[in-house]
Symmetry: C2
Subunit: 477 residues, 2 copies
């Protein structure tokens, strides 16, 4: 048994040290490895396969709304980055600069894209002439680079994978509509596929994207009570169009500035999955995103007929993503590995089971064991996966709701942030000064002004002046 325990023992428990638990899971589930490049991660097959499923699901949803994929250069000339004032101020301090090509210095240095608004704008200024050319609904899947000082797997790294959607429209209304549409696509995807409930809302001016008129966000709550910004959708108005001179001729033959949006999601979502659903045995993957949904583990596999039956069951479960672990490790070790990797269902099948025409099904999240007949195993597996998906979302929602408090004065607020990990709902006057004070005194930031507003009090939780809106506050990753 000593050997079997090793894998689990290697993990710190969540309650003891959540940050260490997270790092342990990331490493032991073989999602990521550190590279020789500071702050850059290697996505190993187990990690990348989750990203591939995220891509598949999101890409399909994007295309259903008319979005087309493109690919832009990874380099941005310095002069191009500088065209929009707020944008360059936000990003210039954290970009990587290419100064030499081959053996020669470049005439103008190039930054490795931290995001591609400027490239898309430059492109639009070439291809958008008439109202007939609008809208353009583009997206690209790529990696971007931000020279972060402190990094954490999936959550913050120098290079990360993401998608960035960039659209351009004739009118302000259309741009706003698209901004909200994509936020909803994100939130639905997170709830339906990742089993993570989201708070949808608008960022304050302090927290919005560099160059945006408005930034909308979806915010999730992690197991430790910290918030994670999980996706953002920006409305640029016609600010970039002015900076890049993107004008089109409207139906009345008048020149008009176009309106733009951008929206992005990243591999950080994998961090969210880990921190919302994981437990002390490792990762727990929602069935709809799990690269492997069912691991069949033969018991006493050297005995006649066991491996054959395992292969037969795999065949029978062809509608799901199924693997058989027929390696020469012990069953106990295989159980640990399957749990560590978060595979939703384990099927144990041994000589006695075969004799009784049954198998043991174990759910990863609840550890619930059930004996199932082999005759309708596919039906049972389908039902268990479906139940698990729904219950994981419900559990995450309950956790979030039980870790969300309201505060109507600053004392309550400080107490909540200090002693009740989670979201705090509180009123805000709309002044940046109060956000700064709150950050300084509690470490919490405004996560968003939710679309679903509530009336907690009449006055700002910080300054006591008349409140303008209810805000979700919290410590965040």
């Amino acid at each position: 048994m000593a050997k079997e325990k090793k894998l689990v023992e290697a993990i710190t428990s969540m309650e003891e040290d959540f940050a260490q638990w997270y790092t342990d899971v990331v490493k032991k589930a073989e999602l990521i490895d550190y590279s020789s490049v500071r702050g850059c991660m290697i996505l190993r097959p187990n990690g990348y396969a989750i990203w591939e499923n995220i891509q598949k699901e999101l890409d399909r949803r994007f295309k259903e709304t008319g979005v087309e994929n493109v690919y832009m250069p990874m380099f941005i000339p310095e002069s191009l980055l500088q065209k929009e004032k707020d944008h360059v101020e936000g990003f210039a301090p954290e970009v990587a600069w290419v100064t030499h090509g081959g053996l020669e210095p470049l005439q103008e240095r190039l930054c490795v894209r931290p995001t591609s608004e400027t490239l898309f704008c430059d492109f639009y200024s070439n291809i958008v002439q008439s109202y007939r050319d609008l809208p353009k609904l583009y997206n690209q899947w790529c990696s971007v680079v931000r020279w972060e000082k402190t990094t954490r797997p999936f959550l913050r790294s120098v290079e990360f994978l993401w998608q960035e959607g960039h659209t351009i429209h004739a009118t302000a209304e259309e741009a706003e509509e698209r901004t909200i549409l994509m936020l909803n696509v994100y939130a639905d995807f997170c709830e339906q596929i990742l089993a993570i409930p989201m708070v949808k809302g608008k960022k304050t001016d302090k927290e919005k994207f560099a160059g945006a008129k408005a930034t909308y966000t979806i915010e999730a709550l992690m197991h430790d009570g910290k918030a994670l910004q999980s996706g953002t959708s920006h409305n640029f108005g016609d600010g970039f169009a002015h900076a890049f001179d993107i004008q089109y001729t409207d139906k009345d033959n008048k020149l008009q500035y176009a309106h733009q949006t951008s929206w992005g999601m990243t591999t950080r979502l994998i961090g969210a999955i880990i921190m919302v659903h994981g437990d002390d045995s490792g990762l727990v993957l929602p069935p709809r995103i799990a690269p492997t949904q069912v691991m069949i583990i033969p018991i006493a596999q050297h005995k006649e007929g066991v491996l054959e039956k395992a292969a037969e069951l795999k065949e029978k479960l062809g509608g799901f993503r199924v693997k058989v672990d027929d390696s020469d490790k012990s069953p106990g070790w295989k159980f640990s590995e399957q749990e560590m990797r978060g595979i939703p269902i384990r099927i144990e099948i041994g000589p006695k089971d075969i004799e009784a025409n049954q198998a043991v099904i174990v759910r990863r999240d609840t550890r619930e064991k059930m004996v199932a007949s082999l005759d309708d195993l596919d039906k049972t597996v389908g039902e268990v996966l479906e139940t698990m998906q729904i219950e994981m979302l419900e559990r995450a929602r309950k956790h979030r709701d039980s870790h969300t408090t309201s505060a109507s004065d600053f004392e309550d607020f400080k107490d909540a942030i200090a002693n009740k990990p989670g979201f705090v709902k509180a009123m805000w006057c709309g002044d940046r000064a109060c956000e700064d004070t709150i950050k300084e005194q509690t470490g919490a930031t405004s996560r968003c002004m939710p679309f679903e507003q509530e009336h907690i009090a009449d006055t700002c939780v910080c300054c006591g002046k008349k409140a303008k809106s209810m805000v979700y506050w919290g410590k965040a990753y």
Copy 2:
């Protein structure tokens, strides 16, 4: 009619100026646009959609052979790039260097990956300890950068998209087997999906990959008689393993160096599709790779029932990738656009057709028109697409074969290269000096030593010494 002709008139004819024709097609079919970054291209939706289909097909084939996807950092520290002597000599002159991160100079400069052997080796040296850890069969989809001086859309650019497979094995035999296996996957894919026949063979030492023990290649012939290297598969032996100290403990508990391969295909394949199948009306896409396989063009679409019928047909053809062009352009203009974009089948449907329960089907490659009953339109479309796919491959094969000559002495050889665009088969002694002479005097390079050897003569076409193998020679992109 003036307006309708514009799109076609904008294209130079192939016979007049092939290079200009190519550039015209790339631009007018909206596959690519130039960016503000020298040598970097923008893949527009029409171009990127072809790449997505290439990815889907290749990725599935890779995975069927056990390959898993990963993602490595885009940066390589200079010291890591320098570990393998031949490799760094081959690539250092053409990489882009990052020297600053944020506002500070880096302690060690980083190159943007031109290829990722060194990163994979570094990773393997951490995760490969025992024979149980082998093989690892990894692949990644990403972009790479090579600081090329002269660039051409798809064929040669500073940044391009590709996949790079990297595998590591216990034995030399396994590595060689994998190298050939992937070359065959490439060749089959090109023939079956892109309708491009390939010559499979081995590169001479002069032409092999920097750091490889052996490079295998697939070579295609373009319409103008120039060759295009379309995919390569390298066997590294244990050279990189020595440079990076990648050793594993074998079953007898002895330390052994591992054996490696890598293999890659790029967006250059899109250039091959254009130059093998295109014509003076634009792109011609093989049905299996075409993002849109059928364009339905309504005739007199303002008349009652026409647009409805077009939509109904689209529904009926749900098993194919179908679009309806219901824009307010004239049918003639729409025909030109569909032809320029290379969409395999056009279906014309107007009031008279509807009355007769029929539609006109036009094949893009042969321009063949046929009248088809609406009752079994899906069957007809399926058959036409299938026939077109097969005939496009046959036509490309005939073109290649009729543009392949043999030469047994140097006069014949020079005449063939100068006057008969295409491959020239000729014997070679194995000496680099003869390759250099041939290049110097004719501009042709050795494309490969084909697996299917023929006996053209006893002696080297250049020096007259005893021949070692038959080589395909040609001018190449």
